[in-house]
Amino acid sequence: MENKLEKLPKAIRSIWGLHAIFTLIFFLIIWIPAKLLIPVTVEDNTFSIYLWAILAIIIIIFVVQLAIIPYRWNFWTFNITENRVELHKGFFLRKQIVIPIARVQNVTMKQGPILQMFKLHEVSIVTAAENHKIDGLTGDMAQELKDLIMKLAKEARNDL
């Protein structure tokens, strides 16, 4: 894993898909009652146009989120070298995160119910200021990453 550009496990794409579906359901839960319950008023026409426009936006967002997933997966990479951990994520809004190994305090893992279903772990690289997250890694990858980083961190501290 050292000095190699790694990608996330493919299963993460299904999880992103699920997130998109949940977002859709969430907005629909708000929209549907709004459509059914708003009484007929004089400005009925304009109001229902607004509602349909909002529905169109919700659906477009959903479709775009799904379409982006392969690109997102392709662009999510990380790289661990002797001196630092680098994370690259995002397709439309690209982020490049640089964390020197000497600044890493700890590597922690977390698993919500969805991640549990896919047997993935969310890995957090803990620094004194901020926790940088890797969306999902298999148990083996996560453990390998943690061991590697902690080993490099120990060496970095011994060099000081």
Binding site: N83, R84, F91, F92, L93, R94, K95, Q96, I97, V98, I99, P100, A102, R103, Q105, N106, T127, A128, A129, E130, H132
Partner: protein
């Protein structure tokens, strides 16, 4: 040295506990009293008096209990603190985990040679036990320091490869700065503290307004209404009120920062200030995360600035300022000299010319307008459909200008990064009310995030977020829409660690 002896705080700490509990309870107490009185009338007054007496007795009893159940031992390797009336707590604080000891001395403790000690601990994994010894003999601090030095020396001896330089005199003052009366007044007079106080007070009085009994309100209305006296009176009265607040705040600030003294001792910086409550804070130089040079707009006009230190601590107390002010007021021409004297590790800052890009301003402004748009649209809709006026729109526009558009413009005008040398970088940025410059040593920047949208890639613009530690949590500085070249320079500087 009877280091195994179990000790108690000085009995005067009962008073301290009492004051502390009263301060926590006084506002809810006042509110409930006012509530009782307005709803029950005379009966309410009697009930509330009874409640006060009962509460007071309870407080005294609890404070006494807290005093009796609090004890501590200064042992060889650590300090052990026992506390708790019902739930017993035992805290062990090894000397090498002590980050900082703050000395707080109220004026009435001075003649008794007592003081309050706040012991802050290190450690990123746990929040860390934080111990306050409310009233102890002043010599205790030296005793604890002696133990700390002993432990440090033992550690150094344990590593055979390091050369031990006997640092006999740890209290030797290398440099000292004492604030002059003129500067103290200047600092207090240019502070915007009274404005925030005014806003808070207005907020409080608006809440109180409902609880004031009807008769009183009517009397006020009849005698003091605007119709009666005219709008000029209202304006005059408000100005007078603000002036009063301003003068009071000057007084409070002068008292708080009275005799501000900064001293540099080996490996430490010490700040001491205060008239009624003398506060001494000692910071180890390796806990300094960054130097922040800060100017509110008024101070910029007068060509003065404030220098603060961003420090790492585990203190969750509100009192501990997250940024430690080491120089309340200094002329901008003297800053370089000051930094060279007290912070010799930091290199001389050479200012580069600001490469102000039109695109930076454009994008920041564009974003601000986009964020404001939904609010403005909502405001216009409300005006046209509901209120049939233009006041809502006006209010929303002012609101957006003040909170979103202006700050965004300010940020765009100044955001800049300048790499000073291999180890140091400076960041410049604005907020709505001030202008700042933060100097970081490379090993205190915890991580860097470069952000760039697909569309900005072609325009060669990017943003960067600098993560650092301040107090007990992480903070970040966000500089947006800067030329990609500058950001890449920063990233390669950082990667060279």
């Amino acid at each position: 040295m009877t280091s195994k002896q179990v000790r108690r705080l000085h009995p005067i700490s009962v008073v301290y506990f009492l004051i502390k509990t009263i301060r926590e309870l006084i506002v809810p107490l006042i509110f409930s009293m006012v509530g009782l009185i307005s709803s029950l009338g005379i009966q309410g007054i009697l009930w509330s008096l009874l409640a006060i007496v009962v509460a007071f007795v309870l407080l005294v009893v609890i404070s006494a209990l807290r005093y009796f159940t609090f004890s501590f031992e200064i042992r060889d390797r650590d300090i052990k603190v026992n506390s708790g009336i019902i739930v017993k707590k035992v805290n062990h604080i090894p000397y090498d985990r002590i980050q900082n000891i703050t000395v707080n001395q109220w004026f009435f403790l001075k003649p008794l040679n007592l003081t309050q000690l706040e012991i802050e601990t290190a450690g990123n994994d746990k929040k860390g036990p934080e111990v306050t010894l409310s009233a102890v003999d002043m010599s205790l601090k030296d005793e604890i320091e002696a133990h700390r030095n002993q432990v440090d020396e033992l550690k150094v001896q344990a590593e055979p490869t390091t050369v031990v330089e006997p640092e006999k005199n740890k209290t030797k003052i290398i440099s000292e700065y004492k604030i002059s009366t003129k500067n103290l007044l200047l600092y207090s007079a240019t502070s915007t503290y009274f404005l925030t106080a005014a806003v808070v007070l207005i907020g409080y009085s608006a809440r109180f307004f409902n609880d004031v009994p009807e008769g009183f309100k009517d009397m006020m209305y009849v005698n003091f209404s605007i119709e009666h006296f005219g709008i000029s009176f209202a304006i005059g009265a408000s100005l007078l009120f603000l002036l009063l607040l301003y003068l009071v705040s000057i007084l409070l600030l002068v008292i708080r920062y009275f005799n501000f003294t900064l001293t540099k001792t080996p490996g430490r910086l010490n700040v001491k200030y205060g008239l009624i409550q003398t506060r001494t804070v000692s910071i180890e130089t390796d806990r300094i995360q960054a130097i922040k040079i800060h100017q509110t707009w008024i101070r910029k006009l007068l060509k003065i600035e404030t220098i603060q230190l961003v420090i790492i601590s585990n203190s969750n107390k509100k009192d501990t300022e997250k940024n430690l002010t080491v120089m309340p007021i200094i002329g901008t021409d003297k800053t370089r000299e000051f930094l060279a004297e007290f912070f010799e590790e930091f290199p001389e800052i050479k200012y580069q010319k600001n490469t102000r890009l039109g695109s930076t301003i454009y994008y920041n402004l564009r974003n601000a307008l986009l964020w404001s748009l939904p609010f403005i649209v909502a405001g216009v809709a409300a005006d046209v459909l509901v209120f049939k006026s233009f006041y809502t729109t006006l209010a929303v526009v002012i609101f957006c200008l003040w909170l979103v558009i202006m700050p965004s413009l300010m940020e765009a005008l100044r955001a800049n990064i300048f790499v000073i040398d291999q180890e140091f970088v400076g960041l410049k940025f604005n907020t709505m009310y001030s202008q700042s410059q933060v100097l970081f040593k490379i090993d205190k920047v915890q991580s860097l995030v470069k952000k760039q949208s697909v569309w900005l890639e072609k325009k060669k613009l990017a943003s960067v977020k600098v993560h650092y530690r301040s107090g007990a949590s992480g903070k970040s500085i966000n500089l947006g829409y800067l030329p990609e070249k500058i950001i890449n320079e920063l990233m390669s500087w950082y990667r060279a660690i």
